[in-house]
Symmetry: C2
């Protein structure tokens, strides 16, 4: 897959296609308006504005859905299809728009409304339950979420397993059987590593990770390197603060990342570079897909592969710190006092089984995901009752990470996803982790890219990612992208080997074998 | 007009009214989305995002217009009207929505499209012409603007004068005859004052106005007093920077003001308090009009009366500086060194005929407006040719202010309005100035308000403005508001008397009589 496709928007002369593109452009613009208002809500909106902003956002979501699912869209798709086939750009737009249209029109309005109401109620119940660490009050809402998920799967349709219908929303084409196979392989080959590291003990000094690093200096340093190392610049991007970090974008020239500043300063730095990975994906999507449904990332997993690649494979590497340690010294002299690049590299790569997913390291993170995947699958299949969930959660935490949560707030109630009806979402985090290494290794087959990575010069790598992943937007499936870019299907092999290589060395486990 | 109306939204049970309100709410929400995206564009958007943002804004404007002018809106208005009459809130909503609907549907789509294209072209031609101070290249575009204005007036319809149809867009109910009468009175009674002040000479030291005042300190001081003196707080408002200061809002609990920092620091301070006046108007509009076309100010003139009241009548008064001078000393010690409150008051009330409208003082400002009003009226009537405009402009500048612009960039080309097709807009600035004094004097009939104003305690005044002006939104016409609040029609008398009183004293013209 080495063809570089033209960046020029397709010069459509087919009048039906023009009308279809006009409508899809309106849908895209309404989506952008909603995204701007949501971003603004998280970054700068005055508190009292929240109530009306909620109504405004609901209107935009409703009008977008109405416009897109209108029968006229279906007619335009039918009418445009034959002529669109003459042009690869038009053909991809029609193909992706039709896929979206069919998905969007499969759920009756009454069902969507019931789901929205129930999710809203479940979310509020979850907030209260987490606060009081009281799973029992959340249980009936989770049962309702599972019931809705089963009904949604039936409405959407599936060949083998209802979970597939849900997973497909986030990872088009992925199947539960594939996830199970890959996850089992990953689990069997990394659980011994976790146990070895835990058993080895860890005498390193991690107090450096909370040394004084003023808030403005954290943000400025993270943003400076987002530009210098990874190519995210103020001419087409902004950095802001928000309670929960995220990336959003309103076009490929309008990227927004947010960060949060904490005493534990790696949260801001690596969080910023994580969002930078997401942003550079959107930046690399070809302009030919602008204001069409083909813009955006191929899937949550492919998106996560980019954020994790930047955050972990690059920014948590020794070459990165060899190159940028002196800048950190300038930005944060108190942090770096008495340290050198290898010592900093060592500190930001601590492995330690922990209770909370979002705080987990590269080695233990995927166990948090596997646990959630296994449990939500059992719930959906009816093999596990909601009432049995906390016990099952804690048992798996003990099995995988040797820990038992002191309460449900730090256990089964920690994540927002289930309360928001996001069943089938969790696996994409680990799929992204796996893909990140598989992609990087494929890119490093090119010696110029490999040399760049060894010297923390990422321009050649970025060009490869743009050519092999980013530019396609949603015109290719995750499988097509994975196989096109790496020559083989997604596998746990590269990730397992990477963990053993990196952490075997860090923890001096010289006999560790994958 | 002392009835305090309930703030509670109307509890509508009429199903047609409910459907109408739903549609009007959607129109309002789309307008809010457009406003958020426009505000964001001016305050924080990355440069490269501009092109796509323009397309997104055009889509929102188009969809808003389409939704509002759809035949269904007219049907709902017809159907809702009889039952709406039972409820004052519903009746006002239907009345204002119908007025807007009829205006919006009077212009054929082809005309609006032609107008939009021509305005866009004229705006770019104006930018280039102003840069090169070359009126001749802008002349054909201005001719086109005047031609479109005449056609628009014919399409909108009018009883006596085509100018009325244009003016009515900005100042509902105002007529060119009334403007002429009021302006002639104002001109005849203030031109001698300008001439007396100019003749008297001015030995005051104005270097204080450009003494060092760091940018962040300017903004912080302006914002602090916007809250402390005028009631604009961060829980429902924000201050940002932009190239041209403005106020916008997305609900009455989501107000945004922008400012610009210059070496001439009064621009930031008084500019902020000007926008604060606009913001507090929107803040005071009753919640009952939320997400309906009745929200917002009654007219540009009434809006300007509030901004000018805050900026000039309050913030450029001696009591204001008596109260807040010590805070300015803390915020800007270099500015205030060797000064006291009366000296500062004196400095920020300099009268000096100047070429540029937006830099003009309270005494000369209205001559800039009268000049523009007279010229655009003559152009519309065909009594003045576009080619004769620069000469006519310069002659009037000499007549009113004793100045001749050195070039057209500092003369006839200085303002954006005509290039944007805004014919009939200028008078509202002066109408607002006049109304500001008429309102303040009416309020000061109440001794508690008067005492507050003398001590720069504006809470009683603000309550009066909310009750007599703000709360009504667009449910009353400017005339109804003016007469209801002040007991008489708009007149130049209070403003003329105010100028003579204030500037007679400042310039020691003790024999000056109105």
């Amino acid at each position: 897959m080495t063809t570089t496709e033209s960046n020029a928007p397709s010069d459509t002369t087919n009048p039906t296609m023009t009308e279809l593109r006009r409508r899809l452009g309106q849908v895209s613009d309404l989506g952008a308006a909603e995204a701007v208002m949501s971003w603004e809500q998280e970054t700068s909106m005055p508190d009292e504005a929240a109530r009306v902003r909620g109504l405004q956002l609901a209107t935009l979501a409703g009008l977008t859905h109405e416009l897109f699912t209108d029968a006229k869209t279906g007619e335009l798709l039918d009418a445009a299809e034959p002529e669109a086939a003459q042009d690869t750009t038009d053909a991809a737009i029609v193909r992706v728009a039709r896929r979206d249209f069919e998905k969007a029109t499969k759920l009756p309005t009454e069902f969507v409304e019931e789901q929205t109401r129930a999710q809203n109620e479940a979310h509020h119940a979850w907030l209260a339950a987490r606060k009081g660490s009281d799973f029992a009050t959340f249980a009936p809402y989770l049962e309702k979420m599972m019931d809705l998920a089963r009904r949604e799967a039936d409405l959407r349709g599936y060949d083998e397993h209802p979970y597939d219908a849900l997973l497909d929303q986030y990872e088009p084409g992925m199947r539960v059987g594939t996830v199970k196979t890959i996850f089992a392989d990953l689990r069997d080959r990394t659980l011994p590593l976790v146990q070895r590291i835990t058993a080895a003990g860890d005498a390193a000094d991690y107090s450096v990770l909370t040394r004084p690093f003023p808030a403005e200096a954290q943000k400025a340093f993270a943003w400076k390197l987002a530009g210098e190392a990874f190519g995210l610049h103020g001419t087409f991007a902004r950095q802001d603060e928000s309670a929960h970090p995220f990336m959003t974008n309103f076009s490929r020239s309008d990227l927004r990342i947010t960060t949060r500043v904490e005493p534990y300063w790696p949260a801001c730095l690596f969080g910023t570079w994580h969002e930078t990975g997401h942003a550079m994906y959107e930046r690399g999507v070809s302009e030919r897909w602008e204001r069409t449904p083909v813009s955006g990332g191929a899937s949550l997993g492919v998106h996560e592969s980019q954020s994790r690649l930047f955050e972990n494979l690059l920014a948590r590497s020794l070459p990165f710190w060899n190159r940028y340690f002196s800048q950190l010294q300038t930005a944060a002299p108190e942090v770096t006092a008495g340290l050198d690049a290898p010592a900093l590299y060592r500190a930001v790569n601590r492995v330690s089984p922990s209770l909370i997913r979002v705080e987990a390291d590269e080695v233990t993170y995927n166990f948090h995901i596997m646990l959630r995947f296994e449990l939500e699958l059992a719930l959906l299949e009816g093999k596990l009752k909601v009432s049995e969930l906390p016990e099952a959660w804690n048992a798996k935490m003990q099995e995988y990470l040797g820990l038992t949560p002191p309460d449900d707030a730090q256990g089964v109630l920690q994540d927002v996803h289930w309360s928001a009806g996001l069943i089938g979402y969790f696996p994409t985090y680990t799929l992204g982790n796996l893909l990140s290494v598989q992609l990087l290794e494929a890119a490093q087959q090119d010696s110029a890219i490999d040399e760049g990575v060894q010297n923390a010069d990422y321009a050649p790598l970025l060009a490869w990612l743009t050519e092999n992943v980013h530019q396609y937007g949603r015109s290719l499936t995750p499988t097509q992208i994975t196989e096109g870019a790496t020559g083989r299907p997604l596998s746990a092999d590269p990730y397992v080997a990477y963990l053993h290589r990196k952490y075997g060395e860090i923890y001096g486990l010289e006999d560790v074998k994958d």
